[in-house]
């Protein structure tokens, strides 16, 4: 059995836009094992501060295993200072993964808010050239939260952007872009990842239009192995752990608060 806990070396750690970084790891076993939607749990520093590991979706797994992250607090700031050659203690791959779109799906729509876009690159890597129309609706706060999306476009994604201040793309929330979603329940399937209010909006829109889909959720994590029951969220089926039962759930199953 592949070990779940490993030390991997940083190959590169670059700032891709004012807010987001991409960190690449020399992690062959991860690259081989990871499925789109799964995440890894990183010990950013060998010390008691910060205490928990930090969870990150895998952004891409080709030669290296990459994560795409926003430096928003102490843990991600430490991560942003990692240099080529540094070693990181990593648990993974963890959690479930996106299911393939159901039979008959023609259009796959990915709705992402901010850094919630991360799991969709590896997902579109796996869906390209399979005959789907791929659409990415990306909502960001500011221009600083937008980045060059050529990798998505290379995978054949039609990309639409909205920013809160209108500095890039359409002005407003990602819901301004819902008009791009083909409203045929038989052929359109949704995937969403981002802040809860945004995913709640996607859920409501999907419900209104009878569209099915999946949501990738976040919650603070300790073990990330389904052991502590600390990362539970409310679902129509009771409390479920994001790390073990998720992070991917049926779109209508999650109760966003």
């Amino acid at each position: 059995m592949e070990k779940i806990q490993n030390k991997f070396r940083v190959v590169a750690n670059e700032k891709l836009c004012p807010r987001f970084y991409r960190l690449s790891l020399d992690a062959k076993s991860l690259v081989k094992a990871i499925k789109p939607g799964q995440f890894i749990h990183i010990r950013v520093k060998d010390s008691l501060e910060p205490f928990f590991r930090r969870p990150f979706s895998v952004y891409r797994a080709n030669k290296t295993a990459d994560i795409f992250y926003e430096a928003i607090g102490p843990g991600t700031k430490i991560l942003s200072e990692k240099k080529k050659g540094d070693e990181l203690d990593i648990l993974g791959p963890l959690g479930n993964s996106f299911s393939l779109p159901p039979k008959g799906t023609k259009t796959v729509v990915m709705v992402a808010g901010g850094i919630g876009v991360a799991p969709f690159l590896i997902f579109s890597d796996s869906l390209k050239n399979k005959g789907y129309d791929l659409i990415l609706l990306y909502g960001a706060r500011t221009k600083g939260h937008t980045f060059n999306m050529k990798d998505f476009k290379k995978n054949g994604c039609k990309v639409y952007v909205a920013t809160d201040d209108g500095s890039v793309g359409v002005k407003g929330r990602v819901s301004q872009l819902f008009s791009k979603i083909p409203l045929d329940p038989k052929t359109t399937f949704l995937y969403t990842c981002g802040p809860n209010p945004m995913m709640a909006a996607v859920q409501a829109f999907a419900k209104e239009n009878n569209l099915a889909g999946q949501a990738s959720c976040e919650e603070v994590m300790a073990c990330a192995l389904g052991a502590c029951l600390g990362c539970s969220i409310e679902t129509t089926g009771g409390y479920k752990t994001v790390c073990y039962d998720g992070p991917v759930f049926d779109l209508q199953e999650v109760k966003f608060h």
């Binding site: 070990k3 779940i4 205490f51 928990f52 300790a222 192995l225 052991a227 600390g230």
Partner: protein, 301 residues
């Protein structure tokens, strides 16, 4: 080198175990050959009926530790026995089953259920869960502790450990009551009642308002409680509270613990219990200690 230890009639191949609520899904995530090296496994506390647990958020990190308010989410004893126990048994490591009753009757009903089950080394009574809304916990009152433990002892065919709460004036008073009631051993400590506040919203961080503090932050206090209790009682102690390394494990053993459990630190380093065990063996070899019993309670004053 002899690492084996005894609690009542139960024998454990070595003194390193894991704390209840901090270890799960061994079959999916861990190298089972490694897990087999543990002295014992303690699954999450089981109650008579299923409990859905507390509303999220359930955990928050603190300086060198965490606060949790899980609310003993568990599937209830029957489902545990039918669906989870077989997996734990398959690992082949002695099992200490943690149980919590909301009344004496529930404790006794749980004991009856586990009397019918084979392949269990001991039962741990969780007398100290701070997350459920009782006014006083059993573990905060010597008389209640004595009452529960003595009834359980009469009924159980397995050795009984009483798990104590640190949220008391003098934990050794409760320990003495458990010993007088016939407990075969003690587990200490559970978590300290604690809270965290979100200053942006001025609301509690945890869905349950309060929770229990654990991790390296509590280790020095836990160590003193174990030391003090070991001075007072003769029954073996399973020690826990912030253990994360060989040195931590050694401190607790020297203070008088017979076994040591890694809890919260499993979340930071899942290999911590095994690393502590390896380190313990190396320490014994370096110091020419042939039997772990030479180390237990060997504090020089």
């Amino acid at each position: 080198m002899n690492l084996s230890v005894k609690i009542g009639t139960a024998v454990f191949p070595n003194p390193v175990t894991v704390a209840s609520g901090t270890f799960g899904h061994a079959e999916k995530y861990f190298d089972l050959e490694e897990v087999k090296k543990l002295g014992a496994i303690v699954p999450k506390t089981v109650t008579l009926l299923a409990q859905k647990g507390n509303p999220p958020p359930r955990i928050v990190e603190t300086a060198s530790g965490m606060i949790n308010a899980i609310g003993i989410e568990n599937p209830g004893a029957d489902v545990f026995i039918a669906e989870k126990l077989p997996m734990f048994k398959k690992i082949g490591v002695p099992l200490i089953i943690s149980v919590l009753g909301h009344s004496d009757e529930q404790f006794l009903a749980l004991i009856e259920k586990f009397n019918k089950v084979d392949g269990i080394a001991a039962i741990e009574l969780n007398l100290s869960c701070p997350n459920l809304k009782h006014k006083v916990l059993v573990a905060q009152d010597p008389a209640s502790t004595e009452r529960v433990v003595s009834q359980v002892k009469k009924l159980s065919r397995h050795p009984i450990l009483a798990k104590l709460s640190p949220n008391v004036t003098d934990i050794s008073d409760i320990a003495a009551a458990a010993e007088a009631a016939g407990a075969d051993g003690l587990s200490l400590i559970n978590t300290f009642t604690a809270m965290a506040i979100n200053t942006k919203t001025r609301r509690p961080v945890l869905g349950n308002l309060t929770g229990g503090l654990s991790g390296p932050a509590i280790k020095p206090v836990a160590l003193h409680m174990v030391y003090r209790t070991a001075q007072r009682v003769k029954i073996p102690i399973v020690a826990m509270g912030g253990i994360r390394s060989t040195n931590d494990a050694l401190e607790f053993l020297i203070a008088g613990a017979t076994m040591v459990a890694v809890g919260t630190f499993n979340f930071v380093n899942p290999r911590a219990p095994l690393e502590a065990l390896e380190g313990l063996k190396a320490y014994m070899k370096d110091n020419k200690i042939k039997d772990i019993k030479e180390l237990i309670g060997s504090l020089q004053i």
